[in-house]
């Protein structure tokens, strides 16, 4: 198994406040990894450090055998932020074109990727509309399409399915699984939705800046004697208090 992301003894503090504490784990190629934990646990901070937008206070993060932050590795990371960062005066197509042109893609590839990404999130019909007129769910879908635009090896999706209806959520998860199986992509998602957690290959539970549990959904359920993931989450939390 090839390792794509390795996080070693990573701690992060903002001023006096410790946000992440001694996080260690490895991510394998071709797996979906879920970060679950309550709001404010430090999931987003961890994701941002993997992207290289922030640096750990101590410890190190390697992506594809390079220490982060590294500009060249960003070609291989598709990132979807928690809040939609889109240009609302521009159309969906213009947004996609703009982000596509920031990556090393030739004209034909760019066109092909835009069609693929827009089709995946069901936005092909709406690409000529201005993003300002989009609904919340449409914006979320456009953000996801942008994360996929350069065909990256690694996908970091910060709460990708918030505000997306169950049907589309189901098809997005199917596509994530297809990308994992056929394209060997490494995918990290943060989520609150426990049935999504069950579809991950590995789960990292983060609470108060610490990694409290790590394993396959099945392992975690057995370890915490739980029948559902909600229970795992609650039991793991209690045990750690």
């Amino acid at each position: 198994m090839k390792e794509t992301i390795s996080i070693q003894n990573v701690s992060k503090r903002f001023g006096q406040k410790m946000v992440l504490q001694d996080i260690n784990f490895r991510v394998e190629e071709g797996k979906i990894n879920g970060f679950i934990g309550p709001s404010g646990a430090g999931k987003t901070t961890l994701v941002k450090m993997i992207v290289g937008m922030d640096v750990p206070s101590s410890g190190s993060i390697h992506v594809l055998d390079h220490t982060m932050p590294n500009l060249n590795i960003l070609e291989e990371i598709g990132y979807m932020a928690q809040s939609d960062a889109l240009y609302t005066e521009l159309t969906g197509m213009e947004n996609l074109k703009f982000f596509a042109s920031l990556y090393k893609l030739n004209k034909a590839e760019r066109h092909e990727r835009i069609q693929y990404a827009a089709g995946l999130v069901n936005l092909t019909e709406d690409l000529t509309k201005k993003v300002g007129a989009y609904s919340g769910g449409m914006k979320r879908r456009l953000s996801l399409a942008i994360a996929l635009i350069q065909d990256p090896k690694i996908l970091l999706l910060d709460e990708p399915t918030v505000g997306i209806d169950p049907e589309l959520r189901f098809s997005i998860w199917n596509e994530l699984e297809r990308m994992k199986n056929e394209e060997r992509k490494t995918i990290i998602v943060t989520t609150h939705v426990m049935d999504e957690a069950e579809r991950c290959d590995y789960i990292a539970m983060i609470r108060d800046g610490a990694l409290i549990a790590w394993g396959t959904p099945k392992e975690l359920k057995e370890r915490y004697h739980a029948s559902s993931f909600d229970e795992v989450f609650l039991n793991a939390g209690r045990e750690n208090q």
Binding site: G52, L71, A85, L90, F98, L102
Partner: protein
């Protein structure tokens, strides 16, 4: 390549925001025109009442565009003046002139008093030739607007470019797209460069419009070369652009960006030379040295009013270039907030 993509996006956004474009291109012209009208307004002709004044003098008053009404044996000067709407009343009793001024507008009264005094003295000397007056800069037609308009042109270029570039990048910060950009392989330098070129293009157009409008439509005095005027204004626009982008990193909202205007923009007006700097306290004069607008105003006044050549304004141009360079470098560091690399 990435810079080009960013520039293209800035153009798309700007062209779609018609009001901002209007503000950038039309507002400066509007304000300049207004100031032109306000400052170059003709002084209202004064009316003077006279009693016992020689006909020669009355002719002289009339020649100086002063309306004259003759009275005989007025009892109350005040009542007469109010009744006949007079600005002044001159009475000569026993060869001694006695002048009464209405003084509702002290400035107008003072100038009227000056005129009358001057005439009385020439009358005494019985000088036939009018006093010859010489002007080093400008002419007897020079208005206040001619002197301050070079500064105003510079100020409007500075103000509007500062505001629009600052808010432009701020929008990118508040909507999270700047942070999102930082998750792509774009370099910080590429972002700063794209913003300088993207907004710079609009600043160039604005500068050209403002300069040509002021010179051709408002008939502002231009003694020196128009190319030097454009050069100074473009450099000033670059300073405003880089400063606007820089200060937007210290603002959390558009409203906070507007709060920079009284702190950063207005003080520059005071130190730009519209108000005499020589009379200020020494420490205050030293403050002018850190104001970009001071150097631009100095150069513009030099070129437009005094006819300075490029070599005369080289010092000012150099300082403006240093300002721009410093702000641009600081911008590169300010972006580290979003990505350490």
């Amino acid at each position: 390549m990435r810079t080009a993509a960013l520039i293209k996006r800035i153009f798309q956004q700007m062209l779609r925001d018609k009001r901002t474009l209007a503000l950038l291109f039309v507002a400066p012209l509007l304000v300049l025109t207004l100031m032109n009208l306000v400052f170059n307004g003709k002084t209202v002709d004064s009316t003077i009442g006279v009693e016992n004044v020689s006909p020669a003098m009355i002719t002289q008053f009339k020649a100086a565009d002063i309306k004259v009404e003759t009275f005989n044996q007025t009892s109350s000067t005040k009542n007469t003046m109010e009744k006949h709407d007079l600005d002044a009343f001159l009475k000569i009793e026993n060869g001694r002139p006695e002048l009464t001024l209405l003084n509702t507008d002290p400035t107008a009264a003072k100038s009227l008093q000056m005129k009358i005094k001057q005439m009385l003295s020439t009358q005494k000397a019985a000088a036939k030739d009018p006093i010859q007056t010489h002007y080093i800069y400008g002419s007897k037609d020079t208005g206040f607007f001619d002197v301050v308009s070079p500064i105003l042109i510079g100020f409007f270029v500075f103000f509007f470019v500062f505001l629009i570039s600052g808010v432009g990048l701020l929008k990118e910060r508040t909507t999270g797209t700047l942070e999102r950009l930082m998750a792509t392989p774009i370099k910080r330098g590429e972002i700063v460069l794209a913003y300088l070129i993207g907004f710079g293009a609009f600043a160039v157009i604005q500068t050209i419009i403002v300069v040509f409008y002021a010179i051709n439509v408002l008939d502002v005095v231009l003694v020196g070369s128009i190319w030097n005027v454009l050069l100074v204004n473009l450099l000033l626009a670059l300073v405003a652009l880089s400063l606007g982008i820089l200060l937007s990193s210290f603002a959390a909202s558009e409203f906070q960006m507007v709060q920079f205007i009284p702190v950063v923009v207005i003080p520059q007006v005071f130190f730009s030379g519209i108000f005499p700097i020589e009379g200020m306290a020494d420490w205050l004069q030293a403050l002018t040295k850190i104001m970009p607008l001071y150097y631009a105003a100095d150069a513009l006044k030099g070129v437009m009013y005094k006819g300075f050549a490029f070599s005369d304004i080289m010092g000012d141009i150099l300082v403006l270039m240093i300002f721009a360079a410093v702000f641009i470098i600081l911008n590169l560091f300010a972006l580290k907030k979003y990505r350490k690399l």
